[in-house]
């Protein structure tokens, strides 16, 4: 076996996995704080990317467009809490899940209604020329994406661990009652969490958009985040990262090695279903995920 080739596939897979992690982190933020599975995360990614690319195409400078979309995503987070979630406080989780599906359609519709539905190329100034380290050729763009993701995780980490607001977010994620008893306002925390998820969606949207073009298919990144979450656990940012890396690496390895070695006609497109199968196996063996909280229910 060609070892260099193996590492190339592995590293390429890991770097691609980082992109999945980025989307998954958005899910984790909201799920941790409010127990809502936000089906609209993919739509938020699409919404952010499309708005950004449309502004740039209308001649806005890079930084201004970035700041404008960031502000828009934060406002959107607060608005979602106020208009969508607050009237539904104390409703069953399935209701909240349904409302995020509605939200997804709304965001997709608004984004395409305002900016149009055609595919846009997004240029963020990173060349995708491969370069070689120790005989292994790597994608420059994927490396950049990983660096961005690492920086994002670092920023979120400091925010969550070291600041008053971050501590309030963790407190709410941990125990709603206790959080109320120390004077933390749940509504405010939810708004902040949605705004943070919007910020993550923006970063993910720019990187995915630069890679695949800004198109409606971006909303399906949310589906790829599902197996990542099942692997890593819905409550853990670390889980989202590790889950993303595992999914990214295994799907590429499976595509290359299983597909070619079995010699059956399943060879192409393994990476499209392999993550889901892996998630299915995980659900059977360890349903709470690698880093999720084990639920012990009293009967």
């Amino acid at each position: 076996m060609d070892l260099n080739f193996f590492f190339e596939v592995l590293i390429g897979g890991l770097l691609a996995g980082v992109m999945y992690s980025l989307v998954a982190i958005g899910f984790v933020l909201i799920y941790k704080a409010s127990g809502v599975f936000n089906f609209a995360q993919g739509a938020m990614v699409f919404f952010a990317a499309l708005t950004y690319v449309s502004l740039v195409e209308r001649g806005w400078p890079f930084w201004l467009a970035l700041c404008a979309v960031l502000a828009l995503m934060i406002v959107l987070g607060f608005a979602i809490e106020r208009v969508v979630l607050r009237p539904l406080v104390n409703q069953p989780q399935i209701t909240l899940f349904m409302v995020t599906i509605g939200l997804a359609y709304f965001l997709e519709g608004v984004a395409q209604g305002v900016w149009g539905a055609q595919v846009h190329a997004l240029e963020i100034g990173i060349q995708d020329a491969p370069f070689t380290v120790a005989g292994i050729s790597l994608s420059q763009f994927d490396l950049f994406a990983s660096g961005t993701a690492a920086a994002l995780v670092l920023v979120l980490g400091v925010f969550f661990q070291k600041t008053k607001t971050g501590r309030a977010l963790r407190a709410v994620a941990d125990d709603h009652q206790a959080a109320l008893s120390v004077g933390i306002q749940l509504k405010y925390v939810w708004a902040v969490v949605w705004a943070a998820a919007g910020f993550v969606a923006l970063v993910a949207g720019l990187l995915w958009g630069a890679r695949t073009g800004v198109q409606f298919a971006l909303t399906f990144t949310a589906l790829k985040a599902l197996p990542v979450l099942i692997l890593g656990g819905f409550e853990s940012i670390l889980g989202a990262i590790v889950g993303g890396l595992i999914i990214g690496a295994t799907e590429k390895l499976a595509e290359v090695y299983i597909g070619s070695s079995i010699g059956l006609n399943i060879g192409t497109g393994i990476e499209n279903w392999f993550p889901y199968m892996l998630a299915l196996v995980f659900l059977l063996v360890r349903p709470e995920g690698l880093f999720g909280e084990k639920r012990i229910e009293r009967i």
């Binding site: 925010f159 008053k164 607001t165 009652q177 206790a178 959080a179 008893s181």
Partner: protein, 390 residues
């Protein structure tokens, strides 16, 4: 020594309850002079048949070393017998030092000021404090009035009223299912009462939601412990801390946000020392033993610098030693910070030693109220706890 000299040195300001004593440029050469002056003072004050604040002017006053013992003794006697408080103006350096060292030794306040004006301002403050204290001992700090709480058809509380006085420890006791925890949940804003009102410090706060009640100065603990289990002891206490902060500065973790964070950390450390939980500062609280978790939960409540501390069975499930520790902490909190405490306990014995006032609930209604001794002897209470023979 001429009596008229003394007389002219005393002035009574009726409006501000203050007697001005002018020692300026006076020389206390020996004990006899001290006695003469103080005999006159005592006589004049006694004649008014009331207590006074003393404003003492020391400018240029000299007290001979051999007269000091006598001077201090007579002064102390006058303060204890007739005084509401004393402020001293501009003593010479040596006198100042002597007063300070005596104040430290005998634990009275030196209250030394450079000018008469400053002393007058301080006097005003002292009088204001006494007025507030005076009213608070008669008026309730927290007043719960005719509280009803229904869950569908189940009546958890029916017309419960009681008062909590500032700085006291009030216990709510009762058998299982008496409505004690419901009462705490109503006071802390977790339940909205079906009927009735809650007044705090004179203002109606019946309809405030839980987080606003907490911001108002009510901290609570839970019967089944509600800690942030995945967070460290330190973070749990910090989460209880309320301080000004700004989301965007927080997000960047720069400048003021970082400075304030560090300043608050220092204050939290003093609570950690107080509760003797230094060794578990960084441990995730979910893994701590039960007794320590209870202590951390108390710590988180204290971190809020509460005006009223609501404790829901703080000693439940503890062994004797842990119970004694907890009782000591509760008393210390009450002593050191003057925190008003409302305490729920199932076990009657535990609370009797530490409570000023006891409210007894049974089947959602108040059946007795009073001092621990009164409640203990109340036949209705005994029947509720022991049941009646059928």
């Amino acid at each position: 020594m001429d009596q008229s000299t003394f007389a002219s040195r005393l002035t009574f300001h009726d409006a501000i309850e203050t007697m001005e004593v002018d020692f300026s440029n006076f020389v206390f050469a020996d004990a006899a002079v001290v006695d003469a002056f103080y005999d006159h003072i005592d006589q004049r004050v006694a004649a008014t048949a009331r207590r006074w604040y003393f404003l003492v002017l020391y400018e240029g006053c000299e007290i001979a070393p051999e007269a000091w013992e006598r001077f201090a003794a007579r002064g102390k006697h006058a303060n204890i017998t007739y005084g509401l408080g004393t402020v001293r103006v501009h003593p010479s350096d040596s006198t100042r030092e002597t007063i300070r060292s005596r104040a430290e030794r005998e634990t009275f306040r030196a209250n030394i000021f450079d000018t008469r004006d400053q002393a007058m301002v301080a006097l005003g403050e002292m009088r204001k404090r006494r007025e507030i204290l005076g009213t608070s001992t008669t008026d309730a700090y927290l007043r719960v009035q005719d509280i009803h709480l229904n869950f569908g058809g189940v009546k958890a509380l029916t017309g419960v009223s009681f008062q909590v006085h500032r700085g006291e420890i009030t216990s709510i006791i009762g058998p299982n299912g008496a409505g004690k925890t419901s009462m705490i949940n109503v006071i802390s804003g977790f339940y909205r009462p079906t009927r009735g009102r809650i007044f705090f410090d004179g203002a109606d706060r019946t309809h405030l939601p839980a987080h606003r009640v907490a911001q108002l100065g009510f901290a609570r603990t839970f019967q089944n412990i509600a800690l942030f289990k995945g967070m460290s002891t330190l973070d749990n206490l910090m989460a209880g801390r309320r301080f000004r902060h700004n989301l965007f500065l927080d997000a960047l973790y720069v400048g003021p946000a970082k400075r304030e964070e560090l300043r608050q950390r220092a204050e939290i450390e003093s609570i950690i020392d107080f509760l003797e939980i230094q060794s578990i500062r960084k441990k995730p609280v979910g893994r701590l033993p039960y007794g320590l978790q209870k202590r951390v939960e108390l710590g988180r409540a204290l971190a809020m610098q509460p005006k009223v501390l609501l404790l829901d069975e703080p000693m439940a499930g503890m062994n004797v030693e842990e119970k004694e520790d907890m009782a000591r902490f509760i008393l210390d909190v009450n002593d050191q910070w003057g925190t008003t405490i409302v305490l729920i306990e199932h076990d009657m014995g535990v609370v009797m030693d530490i409570s000023n006032h006891v409210v007894v609930l049974d089947h959602g209604a108040k059946i007795a109220e009073g001092t621990p001794a009164e409640v203990r002897a109340d036949p209705v209470v005994i029947r509720a706890y022991l049941g009646v023979a059928h």
